[in-house]
């Protein structure tokens, strides 16, 4: 469903994406792991279209989208969540998600009807909030939600655009154990319904959820395989998991 070929990106002398070739099949949950600064967020930014790669190609649904702008990629079903929470702080949780629904509902050149009273927006928005477990917090301004709730809101917004594929950048970043567990539950619910590219530092979560894992170090793929293969891959253990268990 999503494929990269020889993707390459550098910032000055720093190679952030080093000839990365990935292939993610429909319905699969594909995790990308790697130490801090490995280039995971940079990879997602290129997939989503916020960053232009310096070389290589990105194919979504078999179509080359390397030069397609962010909003067009998003509209064609590629939704992302941000590692650093990126919501509309002064809007209520519901309004945040309703805006995401609106994005999917075609053009917004509708000038008269009040958006907040538009069931075509608020209905699906409430459903998405329910799904991520924020149903009871719909009216609260996003800036007053707890950190964990804002992370959930991120996911709800991504879901509300009715994507075919999710790019999730560390959805559990900064969450406590309880919140983390409910996020894992949520991801398990989403798995199979959507094709998912998941970036995550929490190894337990990754090994529990992923169908396929890619390990990124210094921008380059050092291993790709099933959780079992990755767990016992010598190079991965040395380069990455080894550090992690220290």
């Amino acid at each position: 469903m999503l494929e990269t070929r020889d993707l390459y990106k550098h910032f000055g002398g720093l190679v952030a994406t080093d000839h990365v070739s990935l292939s993610i099949r429909e319905g699969e949950l594909h995790a990308v792991i790697g130490p801090n600064g490995a280039g995971k967020t940079t990879l997602i930014a290129q997939l989503a279209g916020e960053l232009r790669p310096d070389g290589g190609a990105i194919l979504f649904d078999g179509k080359d989208v390397t030069r397609t702008p962010v909003q067009r990629r998003a509209a064609s079903g590629l939704a992302r969540s941000f590692q650093i929470t990126s919501v509309f702080p002064s809007f209520s949780a519901l309004a945040n998600v309703a805006l995401a629904v609106q994005a999917h509902a075609g053009h917004s050149f509708r000038f008269w009807r009040r958006a907040a009273h538009d069931a075509a927006l608020t209905g699906p928005a409430r459903d998405a909030l329910e799904l991520v477990g924020l149903g009871s917090r719909a009216e609260v301004p996003a800036e007053l939600l707890s950190h964990g709730e804002q992370r959930q809101l991120e996911i709800a917004m991504a879901l509300a655009t009715r994507p075919r594929m999710l790019l999730l950048d560390e959805p559990m970043a900064g969450m406590g154990p309880a919140e983390g567990a409910s996020m894992v539950d949520l991801l398990r619910k989403l798995k199979g319904r959507y094709t998912i590219l998941l970036i995550e530092h929490d190894m337990d979560a990754v090994f529990a959820l992923a169908d396929w894992i890619t390990v990124l170090v210094h921008g380059a793929v050092i291993a790709t395989g099933t959780p079992e293969e990755i767990r016992y891959d010598a190079e991965v253990r040395r380069a990455y998991l080894g550090e992690e268990t220290v």
Partner: protein, 331 residues
């Protein structure tokens, strides 16, 4: 949090005051206030239109006076042709001058919107400081263009011999009538803007202000919504220009000066950005302050300047936040 009750009350009291003003003024023998408040309503209209892009859209346009001027010139030029007896143009169709408000005022809005479309299309390719400078520069271009209109008085502008004509019994030369027409248009424009800002379109524009990156990631193309808001705002400014031309019975390049654009921004911020009603209060406060300071000393700007600095540093919420207990609508 919001306090809708208090805001509604403030709007009703404000409206009641504005409705009663001509009676109060005439009763007190100070008819001059009707004229002054007519100006306040007109500048209020311009400020509300600016609030659409500045407060809701986060576009710091420093050229809004240009669209006011365009609207004013639409009225002025057509009126000039009535007086002169010459046609406005003969090709491809012959168009005569007119003073019919039902033609001229919509035309002023159309022209305001059209100029905003061209200027906005270019300016919105940039953001931040560049956007401010570019809107200022284009407004200055129109200012010089107006000076170059020698046929229409150049630097001296056009003195109107007649006001726009509505349906017969309504005579805009009567200052109370003209006041109520302006009030009616302002209220109508406010109502329209209120719907706009809360519609899907309004949400898209506000979203683009708050977090443009997120909007794109959701699949929005912010540019077209921002541009549309810019055009609507320009049309509103054009209407206020048409009224201004009628109020002053004069049209001149000074309507488009960069100071005017600056003053409009001041009105919006002083009143409260993103509140719609605030800018009307801001226009009133600004013009009354100007009036009062000018009475005090010939060099009133030396007091006004530091007041602006003070407002920026200390009074960010604007008058409306203070009166109605409510700042930005999305708060």
């Amino acid at each position: 949090m919001r306090d809708h009750g208090r805001e509604t009350l403030a709007v009703l009291i404000g409206l009641a005051f504005l409705l009663a003003l001509p009676f109060l003024a005439e009763a007190a023998g100070k008819g001059f206030y009707v004229t002054l408040f007519t100006r306040i309503l007109i500048f209020g209209l311009a400020a509300v239109s600016l609030d659409l892009i500045l407060g809701y859209g986060g576009m710091v346009s420093f050229g809004h006076a240009a669209f006011v001027g365009v609207g004013a010139y639409a009225v002025g030029i057509l009126s000039w042709h009535v007086f002169d007896g010459s046609p406005l143009m003969t090709w491809p169709v012959t168009l005569e001058g007119t003073e019919n408000a039902f033609v001229v005022w919509p035309l002023a809005m159309l022209m305001g919107g059209l100029f905003a479309l061209v200027i906005g299309a270019i300016s919105l390719r940039t953001t931040g400081i560049s956007f401010i400078m570019i809107t200022l520069a284009f407004a200055q271009m129109l200012f010089y263009l107006a000076i170059g209109l020698r046929k229409y008085g150049g630097e001296d502008g056009i003195a109107l011999y007649n006001k726009s004509q509505l349906v017969p019994p309504i005579d805009l030369f009567d200052r109370t009538t003209f006041y109520y027409v302006c009030l009616g248009l302002l209220v109508a424009f406010l109502a329209v803007c209120r719907r706009l800002t809360r519609s899907r379109f309004g949400m898209a524009v506000q979203g683009a202000r708050i977090n443009e990156r997120r909007m794109k990631a959701l699949g929005f193309s912010p540019y077209r919504y921002k541009l549309t808001a810019f055009v609507i705002s320009g049309a509103g400014a054009g209407l206020s220009g048409a009224l201004l031309a009628n109020a002053a019975e004069f049209v001149g390049p000074a309507y488009m000066s960069w100071q005017r654009s600056g003053e409009l921004i001041v009105m919006v911020v002083l009143g409260g950005m993103g509140t719609l009603f605030g800018p009307v209060a801001g226009a009133a406060a600004f013009l009354l302050l100007e009036e009062w300071l000018a009475d005090l000393t010939e060099h009133w700007q030396i007091i006004l300047g530091p007041i602006l600095l003070f407002v920026v540093v200390f009074a960010r919420r604007g008058l409306w936040g203070w009166v109605a207990g409510q700042g930005r609508e999305d708060r």
